[in-house]
C-alpha cells in the first residue's frame, strides 16, 4: 500500500469517526470500480461501489435532463438507514451507508473537506511507500 492509499483509508476512517451513524464507506470510480472501503462484514464493498455508481449516474442524468443543475448528493432513506452517494470530482464517488440515526446534514457538512482531500489524493502523483 503506498502513501496515497494509506491517506485515503485514513480519510474515510476519520469521516466515520466524526459522524455518528455511519456504518460503511466506500470510495469508487464513477463507473463502479472499488478503490477502497471501510465496511462491515454485512456489506460487500464491490456491490456497494457498483450500486453507488449506478445511483450517481442515474441522478446526474436526471438532473441534467430535467434541468436541476449540478448534482450535490443522492440521499436514499429507508426504514433502517440511509444510502448516500456524493461525487468526488468527475471520475470518482464517495458512498456512505448510515443507520437510522445518521445526521445527514452533519454528514454533508463534514464530508465536503473530505471529498476535496480524496479528490486531491486520487489525482495527485502516487508516492511509493517508504520501506525499512
Amino acid at each position: 500500500m503506498n502513501t496515497n492509499d494509506e491517506e485515503l483509508a485514513a480519510e474515510i476512517r476519520r469521516l466515520r469517526d466524526r459522524v455518528v451513524g455511519i456504518t460503511d464507506i466506500a470510495v469508487a470510480t464513477a463507473d463502479g470500480i472499488l478503490i477502497t472501503a471501510d465496511a462491515d462484514d454485512m456489506v460487500n464493498p464491490d456491490t456497494l461501489a457498483a450500486l453507488s455508481a449506478a445511483t450517481l449516474g442515474l441522478a446526474r442524468r436526471a438532473g441534467d435532463v430535467l434541468g436541476r443543475g449540478g448534482l450535490q448528493q443522492t440521499v436514499a432513506q429507508f426504514n433502517h438507514g440511509y444510502v448516500i452517494v456524493q461525487a468526488v470530482g468527475e471520475l470518482a464517488l464517495l458512498a456512505v451507508l448510515g443507520d437510522a440515526g445518521l445526521d445527514v446534514t452533519h454528514l454533508h457538512r463534514e464530508s465536503q473537506a473530505v471529498i476535496d482531500r480524496i479528490d486531491h489524493l486520487l489525482t495527485a502523483p502516487r508516492e511509493p511507500a517508504a520501506h525499512g
Binding site: 494509506e6 485514513a10 480519510e11 476512517r13 476519520r14 469517526d17 459522524v19 437510522a100
Partner: protein, 355 residues
C-alpha cells in the same frame, strides 16, 4: 454533588464574541420558565433536538440514540408494512401515533412509555456528548408520532444527571457510548459473571470491533442507556474490550496544497509478543489504557450537582440566540461554527463532568 456533574457554569461571553456556548441545563431553563412552544436545537456531537409545548418537553431526539420510530421498527414491535400503512393514513395530519393505536398495533400506554424512554435516551445522548451551542426556534411544530408527552424539564434534567452519574460512577468502567468500539474477548462466555441474558447475547453477537454502544442500540432497537450500562458491566467483567484503533488516522491533514501530516500514533499497550494486551488472555487492555477513557471536562452540559434546580426566578437569565442571530453572527465569523477536531464525548473542553 456527584463527581460526574460537578460542572462549573460556562464562562460568560461578550455579545460581540465568538459563538456563545450554553449549557444544556441553562438552555432548557428559559424555555420551561417562559412556557415556550418550539424546538431547542443542540449542536455538537451527537447533539439533538428538544421539542417543547407550552414549557413541557414533548420529545427529545438525537443522532446518538434510537428515537421512538427506530425502537418500534428495529425491535420488531411494528412491522415495516404496518408502519407504512400507518404513515399513509396518519402523516398528513400528524397522527401516526394515534393510527398505530387505532389499528391495535400498540397500546396507548405502551406507545407513550416507548416515546418517554426515547426522550430520556435522547437527553442522555445529548448530555453525554459534546455540546457546542443551543439555539431556540420558537413556535415550531414537532413530534413525528404526536404522542402527548408532558415531561417536566427539571425532571428530565434530574433523570439525565442520575444516568450520567450512574454510568460514570467511580466503581464503573467509564465508556464513551459513541466513540469506543468494542469486541468480545476470547472466552467471553466463561468470563461472564452475571446471567447470560438475551440482551447480553444479542450485544455479543453484534460487537465486532467496529460498533459502539450507540451502534448496537440502533441495531437492536434498544435504548441507548440500557445498552451502554450493560456493555459497561461486560467491560468490567472482561467479557468485552475496547477495540484498539489499528491505525489511528489522527487529526485532519493540513489544507490541500500543504504537506500532509499524520497524527501521532496512539497505539494501545502491547505485551511482550507485540499483541495488544486484551488479546493476550490476561487483563483486558482497557484497564491499562487510560488514554481511551472518555475525557470528560466539566462545564459543557451545565448540569449541577445541586439538582433539583433552584426556582427559575433565582437563576441568571441567559439569552438564547434565535436562528437569525446565529446566522448573522456566523456570517460575521466564518470560523465560529466550525466543529472541534474531536467529535466525540471525549472531546476537548465541552464535556459534562469528570469520570
Amino acid at each position: 454533588m456527584s463527581a460526574a456533574l460537578s460542572a462549573a457554569p460556562p464562562p460568560p461571553q461578550p455579545d460581540n464574541g465568538p459563538v456563545v456556548t450554553l449549557g444544556f441545563a441553562e438552555a432548557l431553563a428559559p424555555a420551561a420558565g417562559e412556557r415556550l412552544t418550539g424546538l431547542l436545537r443542540v449542536t455538537g456531537s451527537p447533539g439533538g433536538v428538544v421539542a417543547f409545548t407550552r414549557g413541557v418537553v414533548t420529545a427529545v431526539t438525537s443522532p446518538g440514540a434510537p428515537d421512538a420510530v427506530a425502537l418500534l421498527l428495529r425491535s420488531g414491535r411494528i412491522t415495516e408494512a404496518d408502519w407504512a400503512d400507518a404513515v399513509k393514513a396518519g402523516a398528513a395530519d400528524a397522527r401516526i401515533g394515534a393510527e398505530l393505536v387505532a389499528r391495535t398495533l400498540l397500546g396507548a400506554t405502551e406507545l407513550r412509555a416507548i416515546c418517554q424512554m426515547a426522550a430520556l435516551d435522547g437527553a442522555f445522548a445529548i448530555a453525554a456528548g459534546r455540546i457546542d451551542d443551543c439555539v431556540l426556534e420558537r413556535d415550531t411544530a414537532a413530534s413525528w408520532l404526536s404522542v402527548p408527552l408532558d415531561i417536566e424539564p427539571e425532571w428530565l434534567l434530574a433523570e439525565t444527571e442520575r444516568r450520567l452519574a450512574a454510568l460514570f460512577a467511580p466503581r464503573r468502567t467509564p465508556i464513551s457510548p459513541f466513540r469506543d468500539r468494542l469486541v468480545p474477548t476470547p472466552g467471553a462466555a466463561e468470563r461472564s459473571k452475571g446471567p447470560v441474558t438475551e440482551l447480553r447475547r444479542e450485544i455479543l453477537r453484534h460487537l465486532n470491533g467496529r460498533r459502539s454502544c450507540r451502534d448496537v442500540a440502533f441495531l437492536l432497537g434498544r435504548g441507548l442507556y440500557a445498552v451502554t450500562v450493560e456493555i459497561s458491566l461486560m467491560l468490567r467483567e472482561g467479557v468485552v474490550a475496547i477495540h484498539p484503533a489499528d491505525d489511528d488516522p489522527g487529526p485532519p491533514p493540513a489544507p490541500l496544497g500543504g504537506p500532509a501530516r499524520h497524527g501521532p500514533s496512539r497505539d494501545r499497550p502491547r505485551d511482550a509478543s507485540g499483541d495488544p494486551a486484551w488479546e493476550a488472555g490476561g487483563a483486558p487492555g482497557w484497564e491499562q489504557d487510560a488514554d481511551r477513557l472518555p475525557r470528560r471536562a466539566p462545564g459543557a452540559s451545565g448540569f449541577r450537582g445541586d439538582l433539583p434546580l433552584r426556582p427559575l426566578s433565582h437563576r441568571p437569565r441567559l439569552r438564547l440566540r434565535t436562528l437569525a442571530e446565529k446566522d448573522a453572527r456566523t456570517a460575521g465569523d466564518p470560523g465560529a461554527g466550525a466543529p472541534a477536531d474531536d467529535a466525540t464525548p471525549g472531546g476537548s473542553g465541552q464535556e459534562t463532568g469528570e469520570p
